[in-house]
C-alpha cells in the first residue's frame, strides 16, 4: 500500500491528511471518518484486521446517519426475531464486507458492545446475524458501530428465501454426511462378503452381515438418495428420460434386488453399489451447488438498495415513518436528499435523481412533476415527494433483480447439448441393459444376467457427461467471484477466449472515473488553503463526488442553494460565494475548471480531472501478452484521451466518440473478421456493450442491473480483466477435458460391462470415480491462480500521469 493513500480505505489523500496512530505507527487518513474508525480498531486491539484483510476497506462516512428508526417497534417486529431467552435476533446485510477479515472485524467489534449475545458475520453472503438482549442495548447503537467502521447496514430482504436456502444447504449436508458414514459401514460389510471367495463363511454369519447392510443402506438410499428418487419420479411422471431416471432407477434396482437376494438367501448382494452411487453423486452435486450459491450471493447486493423505512405523508402534511413493506400504491411518500426511493411512483415536484442503478446513466437526471420515477434511484440535492404507483415485488428494481437471477440460472447451450446427449444415452443404456440381461440370462442364468445388467446400468450412467459443463461453470463462477468478477451470462465465458480485439472506454475504465482535484490556484489574495476551506464549506451540503475532493468542512456555510448544471451558492463567514462554472461563479468564460468567486470577482480556480487507474499500465501489458490488439474509444476530448493513450502506449485511439460512433467502430472491427471485446464502465454505453462479442463492465454493485454486460468487475480493479479472460480460457480447457473424458469413459465402460467383466460394486466405483474426476477437475477452477501483484513500479509511475 503506497503512502499517498488513506491507510484505512485506500482513497487518495487530500492536501492535509489526518494522522492517527495505529499499533504505534502514525498513519495518514483521508478523512475524520476513516481516522476514527482506524483509531477505534487500533485501541480495541483489533489492529490485526489491517494485516488480515485482502484489500482496502470502505471509506467511512463522517457523520453516521440517524439510525434511531431501527429501534422502532414496528420495524423490529417485522424483522427481528424474538428468542426464547428474551433476546432478539436480526439479520442485516452490510455493504463493504469484502473478505473474511471484515467478517472477523465485525464479529470482534460487535462482541465488545454490552448487551450483545452473539454475532456471526459471513463474508460470502454479506450477512451479519446479530443477537442482542433487549433493554441492555439498542439496535441503533450496534448498527452505529458498524457505520463507524465503514459498513453500512441494510435490512436483509428475502429473509424467508435465505432461511429456506440455508435449510436446504443444511439438509443437503446432512444427506451427504449420512451417505458418507453409512456407505463406509456398508462397504465394510460388503468387503467381508467379497473376501469370502471360497464360500467358507457360515450362512448365518453371511445373512447377519447382509441384514446389517440392509439396516444401514436403507436410510442411505431413501433419505440421502431421496433427491434422485424424487427426480426419478418427476421424470417418469413427465415421461421424459433423464439422468435421474438412470441414477434413481439404478439405486432402487440395486437395493431392491439385494433385499430380494437377502430374503431368498441368494448368491450375491449389491448394497455397496447402491450406497456408493448415492454417496459419490451426492458429493458431486453438493460441490456444484455450493459453487453456484457462492456466485449467486453477489446478486443480492442489488436488493440492498431498498431502504428499510419509508416516510408517508398524510393529508394534513404530517409525516410518519413506516416499514417499506407496508407501503401501498396511492400513498404519498417523502424522500430526504441522499436517500433511495422506496417505491416506483409519480413525482409531485421537481427533483434531481441518480438513476444509475436502473438505467446505468451516471449523470443525475432532472425530473419534473408527474414524471415516473423508480425505486432504487437516489434523491439528490433536495427532498422530494411522490405518489406510489408500484411497490414491493412489482417495482422495476425487483423485476431487474429477477432478470439477473434468471440469467444466472439458465443453462448454457453447451450444457443443454450435453443434457440432450445424456438423455439419448440413457435410452440406449436402458435398451442395452435389457438386451444384456436377456443374453446373459440365457447364457448363465438370471442371477448373472441381473448382475451384468446392473453393472451396465451403473457403470454407464452418463453423470460425468452431465456434470462436465455445469461443474466447470459453477467452479468458474466461484473462482471469478473470488476475484471480484461477476459473470452474468455463461455464454460470455465461452466467448471470452475467442476475442482478439479489445476496445476500451477511457473514463471510469482506464481512469478512475471520479473527478479529483488536480490543481488549485488562488486569486486576489486568497491562499490555496483558504480557497479549499471555502470550497469545502460550500460543498458540504452536496452529494456530488467532487465534494469529497475538497476535504472536510470546518467552517459553516448557510443559505446553500444549488443551481443544477452551474454550481452552488451560499454564505460563508458572512460572505456570499459561488462555486461552479466560470460564468456562474466569476462571470468569466467556462473553461471546464471549477471556479470560486462572488459572482463577479474570481477568488480561486480548481482544476479537476480524472486519474489513471493504478493498475492500468500492468493490465494493458497483460492484455497485450494475451495477444489482444487494444484500442481506446472515448467520448472525451482529444487531449485527455491522447494523454492516457500515450501513457499506456496504445497507438489506436479515438476521441469524441458518441455511442453511435463506438457502435460503428465495433461493427467495423467485426466486419473485418475480428471478435471484439468491449471494456466499458457499463454506465453510458449499454448498446455498445450489447453489440460486442464480449462485454466487460467496470462498475460497483449498483450497476449489476446492467445486463448488457457479460462480465462485471466489481471492485474496480482493472487487472481482474486479463485474469478473468485467463480464467475463461482455463475453463474452456477443463470443459473440453471433461467432455472428452466423460465420452471416452462411457464408450469404453459400456462394452466392458456388457461383456460381464465387472461387478456392480466395481461399476459403481468406476462410475463414481469418473464423475468425481470430472468434478475435481472442474474444482481446480474455483481457486484462481495467484495474480501477480499489480502495484509494481510501472503502475506506480503510471499513477502520476493524470488524464
Amino acid at each position: 500500500m503506497s503512502t499517498d493513500r488513506c491507510y484505512h480505505c485506500g482513497d487518495p489523500l487530500p492536501a492535509s491528511p489526518i494522522l492517527a496512530t495505529i499499533d504505534g505507527k502514525p498513519r495518514a487518513m483521508c478523512c475524520s471518518g476513516c481516522a476514527s474508525a482506524a483509531a477505534w480498531i487500533g485501541s480495541a486491539g483489533l489492529g490485526d484486521y489491517y494485516r488480515l484483510r485482502e484489500g482496502d476497506s470502505s471509506r467511512v462516512e463522517e457523520a453516521p446517519p440517524d439510525l434511531s428508526s431501527w429501534d422502532r417497534d414496528d420495524v423490529q417486529a417485522a424483522h427481528a426475531r424474538h428468542l426464547d431467552d428474551g433476546g432478539r435476533e436480526i439479520t442485516v446485510v452490510v455493504d463493504g464486507m469484502h473478505c473474511a477479515a471484515c467478517a472477523w472485524l465485525i464479529d470482534r467489534a460487535l462482541r465488545r458492545e454490552a448487551g450483545v449475545e452473539d454475532v456471526s458475520a459471513n463474508a460470502v453472503t454479506g450477512r451479519v446475524e446479530l443477537r442482542w438482549r433487549e433493554g441492555a442495548t439498542r439496535l441503533s447503537r450496534l448498527l452505529g458501530r458498524l457505520y463507524q467502521l465503514g459498513y453500512r447496514p441494510f435490512l436483509a430482504s428475502g429473509e424467508q428465501l435465505e432461511t429456506a436456502r440455508r435449510q436446504e444447504r443444511r439438509r443437503m449436508l446432512i444427506r451427504l454426511g449420512i451417505a458418507g458414514l453409512g456407505a463406509m459401514q456398508v462397504m465394510m460389510f460388503a468387503e467381508a462378503l467379497y473376501l469370502d471367495h471360497a464360500n467358507e463363511m457360515p450362512v448365518a454369519t453371511r445373512d447377519f452381515f447382509r441384514w446389517i447392510a440392509v439396516l444401514v443402506s436403507t436410510p442411505v438410499v431413501f433419505y440421502s438418495g431421496w433427491p434422485f428418487i424424487a427426480g426419478l419420479w418427476r421424470e417418469v411422471s413427465l415421461r421424459r428420460l433423464g439422468m435421474d431416471t438412470l441414477v434413481g432407477g439404478s439405486i432402487l434396482l440395486a437395493w431392491a434386488a439385494s433385499l430380494v437376494q437377502t430374503l431368498r438367501g441368494g448368491e450375491q448382494v449389491w448394497f455397496d453399489a447402491s450406497v456408493m452411487f448415492v454417496l459419490f453423486l451426492l458429493a458431486a452435486r453438493y460441490l456444484e451447488q455450493m459453487a453456484r450459491q457462492r456466485a449467486n450471493a453477489q446478486v443480492e447486493a442489488l436488493a440492498r438498495a431498498r431502504p428499510a423505512l419509508a416516510t408517508r405523508e398524510v393529508e394534513d402534511g404530517s409525516r410518519r415513518q413506516l416499514p417499506v413493506g407496508e407501503l401501498q400504491p396511492g400513498d404519498r411518500v417523502f424522500v430526504a436528499a441522499g436517500e433511495p426511493l422506496p417505491a416506483d411512483g409519480h413525482l409531485l415536484g421537481d427533483a434531481r435523481l441518480d438513476e444509475s442503478l436502473l438505467t446505468g446513466e451516471s449523470t443525475p437526471r432532472l425530473r419534473g412533476a408527474n414524471d415516473e420515477v423508480f425505486a432504487g434511484s437516489l434523491c439528490l440535492d433536495q427532498p422530494l415527494r411522490l405518489t406510489v404507483t408500484r411497490c414491493g415485488q412489482d417495482t422495476r428494481l425487483s423485476h431487474m433483480v429477477r432478470l439477473v437471477e434468471q440469467a444466472q440460472s439458465q443453462r448454457p447451450p453447451l450444457a443443454q447439448w450435453a443434457d440432450r446427449i445424456a438423455s439419448r444415452f440413457v435410452a440406449v443404456v436402458i435398451v442395452a441393459a435389457v438386451l444384456v440381461f436377456a443374453a446373459w440370462t440365457w447364457i448363465a442364468g438370471a442371477n448373472h444376467g441381473f448382475e451384468t445388467a446392473l453393472a451396465l446400468l451403473v457403470v454407464s450412467c452418463p453423470c460425468a457427461l452431465s456434470l462436465a459443463v455445469p461443474a466447470a461453470l459453477a467452479a468458474t463462477h466461484s473462482g471469478l467471484s473470488r476475484m471480484g468478477v461477476l459473470a452474468l451470462s455463461e455464454r460470455a465465458l465461452f466467448a471470452a477466449t475467442r476475442i482478439d480485439d479489445l476496445l476500451m472506454d477511457k473514463t471510469g475504465t482506464l481512469t478512475e472515473g471520479q473527478p479529483r482535484l488536480l490543481a488549485t490556484q488562488g486569486f486576489n489574495g486568497v491562499s490555496e488553503a483558504d480557497a479549499l476551506r471555502l470550497a469545502a464549506a460550500l460543498e458540504s451540503g452536496s452529494t456530488h463526488p467532487l465534494a469529497r475532493a475538497f476535504g472536510e468542512a470546518n467552517v459553516h456555510a448557510c443559505d446553500l442553494r444549488i443551481t443544477p448544471g452551474l454550481g452552488i451558492e451560499g454564505r460563508v463567514d458572512g460572505r456570499a460565494l459561488r462555486l461552479g462554472r466560470a460564468d456562474f461563479a466569476a462571470s468569466g468564460e467556462d473553461d471546464g475548471a471549477l471556479w470560486l468567486g462572488d459572482g463577479g470577482q474570481a477568488l480561486a480556480r480548481f482544476e479537476v480531472g480524472d486519474r489513471l487507474r493504478t493498475d492500468a499500465a500492468a493490465t494493458v501489458q497483460a492484455l497485450r501478452s494475451r495477444g489482444l490488439s487494444l484500442a481506446i474509444l472515448s467520448g472525451d476530448a482529444e487531449t485527455a484521451v491522447a494523454r492516457v493513450a500515450s501513457a499506456l502506449q496504445i497507438d489506436d485511439w479515438q476521441a469524441r466518440q458518441s455511442p453511435e460512433d463506438k457502435l460503428a467502430a465495433i461493427r467495423r472491427h467485426q466486419a473485418a473478421g475480428h471478435r471484439v471485446g468491449m471494456l466499458g464502465d457499463g454506465l453510458n454505453d449499454a448498446p455498445v456493450l450489447a453489440a460486442a462479442d464480449l462485454s466487460i463492465a467496470m462498475s460497483d454493485g449498483a450497476a449489476l442491473a446492467h445486463r448488457a454486460a457479460d462480465l462485471i468487475v466489481l471492485n474496480g480493479r482493472l487487472d481482474r480483466v486479463p485474469a478473468a479472460l485467463a480464467q475463461a480460457g482455463r475453463m474452456q480447457r477443463v470443459v473440453r477435458q471433461n467432455l472428452s473424458w466423460a465420452l471416452a469413459y462411457n464408450a469404453i465402460a459400456l462394452p466392458v460391462a456388457a461383456l460381464g467383466l465387472i461387478t456392480p460394486g466395481l461399476a459403481a466405483l468406476g462410475m463414481a470415480l469418473s464423475s468425481l474426476g470430472v468434478t475435481l477437475n472442474a474444482l481446480r477452477l474455483a481457486t484462481p491462480p495467484a495474480t501477480p501483484d499489480t502495484e509494481t513500479t510501472a503502475a506506480e509511475s503510471a499513477r502520476e500521469i493524470t488524464a
Binding site: S43, A44, G45, L46, G47, D48, R51, L52, A100, A101, A103, W104, D107, R112, S120, A121, N122, A123, V124, R166, R169, R170, L173, I174, G177, I178, L181, G182, Q185, P202, T205, F208, I212, L215, V216
Partner: protein, 58 residues
C-alpha cells in the same frame, strides 16, 4: 465368530452416535460459514480490549 454379535452392534451404535453428532453440528450452524473461522484462529486471545485485565493472559 460370536464376538461379531457384540462388535457389529457396537459399531452400529457408534455409527448412530456419529450421525447424531453430525446432524447436531449441521443444525447448530457449524458448517454455515467455512471461510471466516479460518481467519478467526489467526489472531485471537493475545489482544484484549483495555476493559479486561491482561493478567489472565500469559
Amino acid at each position: 465368530m460370536n464376538i461379531l454379535l457384540v462388535l457389529v452392534p457396537i459399531s452400529l451404535f457408534l455409527l448412530a452416535v456419529a450421525i447424531g453428532a453430525f446432524i447436531w453440528a449441521v443444525r447448530s450452524g457449524q458448517f454455515d460459514d467455512l471461510d471466516t473461522p479460518s481467519i478467526d484462529i489467526l489472531a485471537d486471545g493475545d489482544h484484549r480490549p483495555d476493559t479486561k485485565p491482561r493478567a489472565d493472559d500469559d
